[in-house]
């Protein structure tokens, strides 16, 4: 099992580098992952997307695709790319402590 060092802790991550245990996740960890991903400071809009993503995952058992994420979060695709450049669904899932969306098959 791979691990990722965040804030002095070694946390288990999967082959995509996403957290394995949701219990390892908290807002402080999210900010640290965002920094590692080059996102910078997380604004209210970032948090709205992250929360929508977690809510959808808890309901569906899968992190939503970009298309579904726009429906869930009310944030349009263009803005999602501004908030989470280079693959909003992938990036937001990683920061939200979720596995990569299975939409990529």
């Amino acid at each position: 099992m791979d691990t990722l060092e965040i804030l002095g802790k070694h946390l288990a991550v999967d082959k995509d580098g996403n957290l394995v245990n949701r219990s390892d996740w908290n807002e402080e960890i999210a900010r640290a992952i965002a920094a590692q991903e080059g996102i910078g400071e997380l604004t209210d809009r970032h948090w709205a997307v992250i929360r929508a993503m977690q809510k959808a995952f808890d309901r569906d058992g899968d992190a939503p695709s970009i298309r579904r994420l726009t429906n869930e979060s009310g944030v349009d695709v263009k803005t999602l790319y501004q908030l989470f450049p280079k693959g909003p669904a992938k990036k937001a899932a990683k920061i939200a402590g979720l596995p990569k969306p299975k939409g990529c098959i």
């Binding site: 082959k15 995509d16 899968d62 695709s65 970009i66 298309r67 579904r68 429906n71 695709v77 263009k78 999602l80 790319y81 501004q82 450049p85 280079k86 693959g87 909003p88 992938k90 299975k102 939409g103 990529c104 098959i105």
Partner: protein
């Protein structure tokens, strides 16, 4: 009479029709298949048409030739499924009642979903090869093309046959080399994925092949629109990729009748239990092939493996037993790599494609994740197997469950 209705007479629907009509007693069962056309298309063959390897006769057959004689065949568009009243409404508003329904309505390309894609230049400088007409138009275009920038763009996942875009580029490399103009053709893949494929080990190996064949990659490219005046595709984060010819894999969506029925997700795919293949909303509706939302590849081999699971679970259901068979996401795909060679991948929900030998461990004759001539012959033989064995619902000597035998773990 108990009534089974199968929506769609393509790969998945035809397989289920043939398998079930052999075991359901004709005196007690009426089996109806509904499709909007008389023509069965061999979709895996479309890939070869732009390069003149296959023509129309290789991929088109009369649908009814592959249906059992006693099947009730209805050629009509479908307005919607009325699941509450267990009936299918046809486009002329007549109704077909069912006790059980198998949805095999597939997936289609939707170029209308991307801004600027479907305009006057569609079929002139912008093409698809996921339809017979599109593949033929591209073949005519290539015959008189002297070179330039060819960009292949996948708009969004999931798509049917996720390896087809790579195969297209490998075959293009081979085709333009043989025509003596490879040095005048720039090949580029603009993909929403972070690399060549969706799974890590295969991405590493296929990415290496792309590089080796001098095919450029623009990863993480989420297309926002086509700028037709500047012949440029533009991403949501303003990355621009100019082209002379754009080969698009447009957004794939389930049939519109699924949306009209209120049975689909945001891409018109039917939410389906990924192991039992039963609709999540209605336990008398089964879903097979590209029509469902399973996290498995949308491909003929996958529909074939699903057909064995669905066959067992359907018989359980009509005899009042709980569905016992479980689909594991098994997919098995040849990947044409050009110059008469191909690779093979074999994987499921949990196990990514790995190197090794298939189907016999250590022997093959096929090699997993490795380019060989034998794999290419396997790919070409598959067309014969498709028409003569697969869609006729005859057993193939490959287990529907993936096996780790012969694979080298990562």
């Amino acid at each position: 009479m108990r009534k089974l209705v199968i929506l769609g007479g393509g790969t998945a629907g035809t397989m289920m029709l043939n398998k079930l009509s052999r075991v359901l007693n004709e005196d007690r069962w009426q089996i109806t298949v509904i499709d909007d056309s008389e023509t069965h298309l061999y979709q895996p063959g479309f890939l070869f048409i732009p390069f003149g390897i296959y023509g129309q006769k290789d991929v088109v057959k009369p649908r009814r030739e592959y249906f059992p004689a006693h099947a009730n065949v209805v050629i009509s568009g479908i307005d919607r499924i009325d699941a509450d009243h267990k009936r299918v409404i046809l486009e002329d508003k007549s109704a077909v009642d069912y006790d059980y329904l198998i949805v095999a309505t597939g997936a289609k390309i939707r170029p209308d979903q991307t801004e600027g894609l479907l305009d006057d230049e569609w079929g002139k400088s912008k093409f698809d090869f996921y339809t017979l007409e599109g593949a033929q138009r591209l073949h005519r275009f290539f015959e008189s093309w002297h070179g330039g920038r060819l960009v292949l763009n996948m708009t969004e996942m999931p798509i049917k046959c996720p390896v087809a875009p790579l195969e297209f580029l490998f075959l293009a490399d081979s085709y333009f080399t043989e025509r003596g103009i490879r040095d005048k053709v720039e090949l580029r893949l603009a993909t929403p994925l972070s690399g060549a494929f969706t799974k890590p080990k295969a991405t590493e190996i296929l990415g290496g092949l792309l590089q080796h064949k001098n095919i450029n990659v623009t990863p993480d490219f989420g297309i926002a629109r086509v700028d037709n005046e500047r012949k440029t595709i533009v991403s949501y984060d303003d990355v621009e990729v100019p082209y002379d010819v754009l080969v698009s894999i447009p957004t794939n969506m389930g049939d519109e009748c699924i949306a009209r029925s209120g049975l689909g997700d945001e891409l018109n795919y039917v939410p389906t239990d990924k192991e039992t293949l039963v609709s999540e909303a209605h336990d008398d509706i089964f879903v097979i092939g590209d029509a469902g939302n399973l996290p498995s590849s949308k491909a003929g081999s996958v529909a074939h493996f699903q057909s064995e699971i669905l066959f067992k679970n359907f018989l359980d259901r009509i005899d009042g037993r709980p569905a016992h068979a479980r689909f594991d996401g098994h997919a098995n795909c040849f990947i044409e790599s050009g110059f008469g060679k191909a690779l093979l991948i074999d994987f499921n929900y949990g196990v990514e494609p790995l190197p090794g030998k298939f189907p016999l461990p250590g022997i093959g004759p096929f090699s997993l994740l490795h380019e060989t001539r034998m794999n290419h012959y396997g790919k070409l033989a598959f067309r014969w197997i498709y028409w003569n064995v697969l869609i006729r619902g005859v057993e193939l000597p490959i287990d529907s469950k993936m096996s780790m035998a012969g694979k080298v773990a990562a």
